[in-house]
């Protein structure tokens, strides 16, 4: 073979090799892409299934307190013509400030038969209690208190003893002890707290809250309209009373 022929043969061999390598790359790219899409689809399905399972577990274990109003998601106090809905989390310090700031005024309005307060105990701060889910436990306990007609008393004592955010929250024993101090002494209450009877209910209240387009606590709604102060702040007591007076006409 001449030198020229040898070169040509070598060139051809190299071209074939390159084509083979390119083929291999294409195949690898194709199949790895298919694998990636498959993994992502599976991950999505796992997520969706997990979500549905959690929903099913909540719905399955749901116990709605007999006295709850508004689709079974709130407790009404008072009989006045203006409806004031308050969405609060027992772990939320701003809610506690709101209670300290406006609680007494609102109670007076209830006594004067000017308003009907509807308390919605939501649990959006479960990740602020070191995994003990204080928000959900406290909201559930409030439902158990409502069963015995002591929602307001229990609500107030929980806020008066609010744990720090990102602490363990109050233990069930402490919750039961505080309840006793406001006259909630029944075994039924203690059992409901310890068994977490109303925890799924607290989840449902929170879902209802979200589905209504709310996402922060406290959310104050007067006759169906959300009330905020300037720059999305919690409304002052004056603003609340003025708005209630306006709503009353």
């Amino acid at each position: 073979m001449s030198k020229g022929n040898r070169d040509r043969a070598e060139k051809a061999r190299r071209i074939v090799e390159q084509q083979k390598a390119a083929d291999k790359r294409r195949k690898v790219t194709l199949w790895t892409s298919v694998a990636v899409v498959a993994v992502l689809v599976i991950a999505g399905l796992v997520g969706y299934t997990t979500l549905s399972e959690q929903d099913k577990a909540t719905t399955g274990a749901l116990v709605t307190p007999a006295s709850a109003v508004d689709d079974g998601t709130a407790f009404a106090v008072g009989t006045g013509p203006v409806t004031v809905d308050v969405y609060e989390d027992f772990m939320c310090p701003i809610c506690n400030n709101f209670e300290k700031q406006s609680g007494a005024t609102l109670k007076q309005l209830i006594t004067d038969k000017k308003i009907t307060m509807r308390y919605h105990p939501v649990s959006i701060l479960d990740d602020a209690s070191n995994g003990t889910q204080y928000s959900t436990r406290a909201a559930g306990a409030a439902a158990a208190a409502a069963d015995e007609g002591k929602f307001t008393e229990f609500h107030d004592v929980l806020y008066a003893n609010q744990p720090e955010e990102n602490s363990d929250g109050l233990g069930n024993d402490k919750i039961i002890e505080l309840a006793k101090s406001v006259g909630l002494t029944s075994d039924k209450f203690a059992t409901a707290v310890n068994a977490g009877t109303y925890k799924p209910w607290a989840t449902k209240v929170t879902e209802t809250f979200s589905s209504r387009g709310f996402d922060g606590t406290p959310t104050i709604v007067i006759n169906g309209t959300k009330l905020t102060g300037p720059k999305d702040t919690v409304p002052t007591t004056d603003l609340i009373t003025q708005t209630i007076a306006k709503a009353a006409g």
């Binding site: 790895t32 694998a35 991950a43 796992v46 997520g47 979500l51 479960d126 990740d127 387009g213 922060g216």
Partner: protein, 161 residues
């Protein structure tokens, strides 16, 4: 034809970008996967879709983020996973810009369950966007130079790595 004298620095840069982006997705997913309801609320807080849709998006998203993180970590079809990362990041940035322009006061929910901010806490949309742009740059590196060390891609292509 490729020369063999070019310093092989890009595969190393791409490796760092790949592992960095993998860590971003893994952390983002892990912080949300434990509380899907909270993740749903974070999506809902953007006020861009109905709660029922937000719930599914918020529930599925952490799983996708973790899967994407794992795929990048092992280096499977890096160019595709980088593309998907870039698309997701662009959507996230658009969401933050939209929340910002509408004056919403929310936590972006990027590495947490997010939601509305309490009083006295400030939004930090600018920082969030800047950070996401940084992650987008990592995806860009991988899109441009997907070849990296210690990757399944490399092993399958039969490259010496």
């Amino acid at each position: 034809m490729e020369t063999t004298t070019r310093p092989a620095i890009w595969p190393w840069i791409s490796t760092l970008a790949r592992l960095g982006l993998a860590a971003v997705w893994l952390v983002a997913g892990a912080t949300k996967v434990g509380d899907l309801a909270a993740s749903a609320r974070a999506v809902n807080a953007y006020d861009l879709m109905s709660y029922d849709v937000a719930k599914v998006v918020g529930g599925v998203q952490p799983f996708l983020e973790i899967a994407l993180g794992v795929l990048l970590l092992i280096g499977l079809s890096t160019r595709l996973t980088a593309t998907i990362s870039a698309v997701l990041l662009v959507i996230f940035i658009a969401g933050i810009v939209s929340a910002w322009s509408r004056g919403l006061r929310i936590d972006c929910g990027c590495f947490s369950s997010g939601g509305e901010l309490g009083a006295g806490r400030n939004t930090q949309y600018g920082l969030d966007i800047l950070r996401d742009l940084g992650f987008l740059a990592l995806s860009g590196i991988l899109l441009w130079r997907p070849r990296s060390r210690f990757s399944i891609d490399g092993a399958l292509m039969g490259e010496s790595s």
